[in-house]
Amino acid sequence: MPAPLFEARSQEDVTYRLRLPPFLERDWQEALPDLLANCPPGPVDLDCGTWPLNVRDLQHLIDTLEREGLSINGLEACRSETVISANALGLQARLRMEHLQIKPVADAAAGLRLHQGTLRSGDHVNAQGHLLLVGDVNPGARVSAAGDVLVWGRLRGVAHAGCLGNSEAKIVALQLRPLQLRIADCVARGPDEQPQPGFAEQARIVNGEIVIEAAQPLPPIVPATERDDSLA
């Protein structure tokens, strides 16, 4: 079993991030202390990945880490049962959607998908690349795209741009009044104030948070066949 990865989150951060290896072996409980021997003591953010850990296993893992001098600051996992166990033990835990790996995806390759017509409550439209919806998105409806979400109408439902992890993606609408906005793995509630009529707005990630601003002209979306990789 490969050694758990130990990486610093950022220069200023005192907590380090301990990422457990991708698979779980039956005798992980015995093998773990040797692997952790190389990690410097101190507080860590634990990334459990896809490990399914019930309360007992998680407690054992925490005890093992503590024996090596590592204290758990926070926890991230792809499995909800692990998050639930962590909460039960009083730890701060976050569920990470497995497919939302933080790496940019070449969504421009899939081009632009056009959908005409209003989406009613309960409907969901998804696109591999960018999505242009001509019509309204009613409350209770969802639009998602691996690239940008462009609504030529009123966005009143939930929009998810960059749903495969691209945090450069944008959400633009003629009238941005969403229930919820999601870009990559950031989530934000829609604004409470009524928007000015005739004022198109866009949402994008700035400094790790979703912000809403006046819509800017879009860079040209290059169709897949014309894309020239040498310009990247």
Binding site: R120, S121, D123, N138, P139, G140
Partner: protein, 271 residues
């Protein structure tokens, strides 16, 4: 089949917004205006249409016996004593839900289409099998909603489902409107509702206490020639369905004129 027989589904998504009341009153109103009308209760689990029409104690056979061919359609239909143009086909018993298929509803409706100008189907609440079976048999639909966020959300969902099933045209009735609350912006405005639902407004019915009285008595409001606002609204909806151009009431103006004030005074109990 009567050449212009129309089959209209009356649905809402949300429960309790006034489907059965609309079906009963619309049935009476159409019958009064000369149309041979049948109302079909498609809510086999919790049937109410017979109660509202005051025909509960005259039911012998139901849709179930008609399907099983234990009786003729004529024996199951209950004719309204005061409005002979109106008939009711009562709902079967709840156990029918286990085996009822869309084709069964379609066969009942096609039997009814042969002798009636209007077939009104009272849909159960929700979007499950009851709704799906009823929608399979309908050609057009009337979606009824109240000016409340949850009702509008559910209506939006239902309209989407009707669109995918090719039910057309779908029209909208806005029920239980309170003009004072709308004026104070405590209730969704008519425009707010039509903005989201994007459907033509077939009618607007004001909140009316008389509806409760009429339900308990089993006498739909439209039966007594309509003095109350709701009764007039239902009669107007019937006329619009037949193609007449009747202007919609404006909630802001309703209840202000001298006539309305006198009417209210007459209806108020003084002792």
């Amino acid at each position: 089949m009567a050449p212009t027989s129309r089959t209209i589904l009356i649905c809402s998504g949300k429960g309790g917004v006034g489907k059965t009341t609309l079906t009963a009153n619309l049935g009476i109103a159409l019958a009064r205006q000369g149309q041979k009308t049948v109302v079909l209760d498609a809510d086999f689990g919790l049937r109410n249409l017979d109660l509202l029409l005051g025909l509960e104690n005259r039911i012998v056979y139901t849709a179930q016996e008609v399907l099983a061919q234990t009786c003729r359609l004529e024996q199951a239909l209950v004719r309204h004593k005061q409005e002979p143009n109106l008939a009711l086909l009562p709902a079967g018993n709840p156990r029918m839900l286990e085996w009822l298929k869309p084709e069964d509803m379609q066969s009942i409706v096609s039997m009814l289409q042969k002798q009636f100008d209007y077939v009104l189907i009272d849909c159960p609440a929700g979007i499950e099998d009851g709704f799906k079976n009823a929608a399979a048999a309908a050609r057009e639909a009337i979606v009824i909603t109240t000016p409340e966020v949850s009702a509008v959300r559910d209506a939006d969902r239902v309209i989407g489902l009707l669109n995918t099933r090719g039910v057309s045209p779908v029209q909208l009735v806005l029920n239980r409107v309170r003009p004072k609350m709308m004026a104070n912006q405590e209730m969704l405005a008519v425009d707010d509702v039509t903005d989201i639902l994007a459907l033509p407004l077939l009618g607007l019915v004001l909140e009316d206490e008389q509806v409760i009285v009429s339900t308990n008595r089993g006498e739909p409001l439209t039966l007594n020639g309509g003095g109350s606002p709701a009764a007039r609204a239902y009669a107007n909806i019937a006329r619009r369905l037949q193609g007449e151009d009747v202007p919609l009431i404006d909630p802001a103006k309703e209840g202000r004129g001298l006539r309305a004030k006198v009417r209210r005074l007459m209806q108020k109990k003084i002792f």
